[in-house]
Amino acid sequence: MSTKHKIDLYALTWRLPIILWQLIFFVGPVVFMIAISFFVVKNYRMTEAFEFVNWQRMLTRGYFWDSYWYTLFIASLSAAIAMMLAFPAAWALAFRASENLRRWAVFLLIIPFFTSYLVRTFSWYVILAESGVLNAMLGYVGLGPFKMLNTHFGTVVGYLTLTLPLAVILQTVTMANIDKTLVEAARNLGCKPLSTIWRVVLPLSKTGFVVTALFCFILAFGDFVAPFYLGGSQEPTLPILILDTTKSGQQWPRAAVVAIMMMLTLFAVAFTAIMLAYRKPKGAR
């Protein structure tokens, strides 16, 4: 190995590519996006400036804040639903299934994560439509038809398509890694099953669960497809706002303001979540 002062060509070969690449194509774009939020648009052209006019425009508008709180609400709600729906399945896979079965389940659940979300959303569109598959099925047992498209329900179904497989995988892996003897000890000492989940399993999986919920929230918060196609975008979420502002109005600076507000919110949520996840429980040393 080379000495301290000589330039280590070998080490640099492996270290430098990503630094250069990410500076140009990751840090560059993000920093530039912050910069353009201060630019002004004159005659449909963006000109360099340092003015707060875009910030003022967006943050004093009711529709921005309506959209902001709606997005925050629906993303949190769907993250909570994903966590709750995933739990019994993950619990079963972690504690009741054989190791082989568990591996297969995780293997299968990874597949949708890498397959076209757009096509899956379109498929939901057809399933949930007024005369679609689900209503036809419900019709056979004398129910419905229900209006499922262009509702909050539609939006949440879309979000769950994105988040539920992830929630099941991460929860399963988290609980499968718990020391089983602790769970058995609780049971042997007379702890009821539900009480074992509440007092042993959940506290031991806290970090993993908080991180899982955080991922679900981030995915839903940033998705424009579900609220647009399944929710009918009657209440535009922030991603839809970015899309509309960028695509139709050429108002990149205002879209940048929305994007920065989203990022700040995500940082705040992620920071709170991670603090929660790593906070020691009361009485622990």
Binding site: Y10, T13, W14, R15, P17, I18, I19, W21, Q22, L23, F25, F26, V27, G28, P29, F32, M33, I36, P88, A89, A92, L93, R96, A105, L109, I111, P112, F114, T115, S116, Y117, L118, V119, R120, F122, S123, Y125, V126, A129, V133, A136, T161, L164, P165, V168, P193, L194, F221, G222, D223, F224, P239, I242, L243, T246, W252, A256, A259, L266, A270
Partner: protein, 264 residues
């Protein structure tokens, strides 16, 4: 609360969750062979009309070509970048290693719509937007972390002494890389090529923003869906699913089978 009864209930529940997850994939496949313009049950007649339609559409062929170019190039770029970073993380300790790793691992935590806007603004400024390689640049940033993670996982299984042994036997660092590290990482490298290609193949938000008039397959889907209900999407969807599912399954099989081998 314990015993068979509970197991049955849980089994049914797990099956329901899987049904929810796979229902859209299943119905997309079924409806792609269904004659109805607005598909529902009871199903219409068996028909390959939608496939005939997409196969005779030159725009779709162009989109497929574009997608293949983008995802292949992205996979090679991202895997190269990921390999360099994974090896650096495995081999070296240095100041600012935290920020260094954050640089590669952060992009997937930022919503795609934000990356799309940022990339569009930045690449237009540099005069690089509206091209196929605009998508490639953006996608390599988004997928390099996956490559890094997979290869790092593999390196984690390697005995660090292996590399040192190669040096002691008189090999240079470059030779050790070529004859020890790269062969050891090969399954992970192939997995990573498959997975990053799959991610790039399906990504539409960033691609749609920066591509200008060069459409990839997901962008074509997006545009068809915006118009109206058109079962062509299901037919395209079947191809898209088949492509990405084969890539993902190949990646997992290659990676997992090696893992089992190296454990036994």
């Amino acid at each position: 609360m314990h015993g068979r009864g509970l197991n049955i209930i849980l089994g049914v529940y797990v099956a329901l969750i899987f049904t929810f997850v796979f229902a859209p994939i299943f119905f997309s496949l079924v409806f792609s062979f269904n004659s109805q313009r607005f598909p529902t049950i009871p199903l219409g007649e068996f028909s390959t009309e939608w496939y005939a339609k997409i196969l005779s559409d030159p725009d779709i062929w162009q989109a497929v070509r574009n997608s293949v170019i983008v995802s292949t190039t992205t996979a090679i770029l991202a895997t190269t970048l990921g390999f360099c970073t994974a090896y650096t993380d495995f081999r070296y300790n240095f100041r600012f290693k935290g920020p260094y790793l954050a640089l590669i691992l952060l992009p997937p935590t930022i919503p795609l719509i934000i990356m799309a806007l940022a990339m569009l603004a930045w690449l237009s400024r540099l005069g690089l937007s509206g091209q196929l390689w605009s998508i490639i640049m953006a996608h390599s940033v988004l997928t390099a972390p996956f490559a890094m993670a997979i290869i790092r996982l593999r390196l984690h299984q390697m005995d660090p002494d292996l590399e040192a042994a190669a040096w002691n036997l008189g090999g240079t660092e470059w030779q050790a890389m070529r004859h020890v590290i790269v062969p050891f990482c090969m399954p992970a490298i192939i997995s990573s090529l498959c997975l990053t290609a799959a991610v790039s193949f399906d990504e539409f938000a960033v691609a749609w923003f920066v591509s200008g008039l060069n459409k990839t397959v997901p962008i074509v889907i997006l545009e068809i869906v915006q118009g109206n209900i058109d079962p062509q999407v299901n037919a395209i969807g079947t191809f898209v699913f088949l492509t990405s599912i084969s890539l993902v399954v190949a990646a997992q099989v290659i990676f997992i089978s090696r893992q089992i081998k190296s454990h036994s």
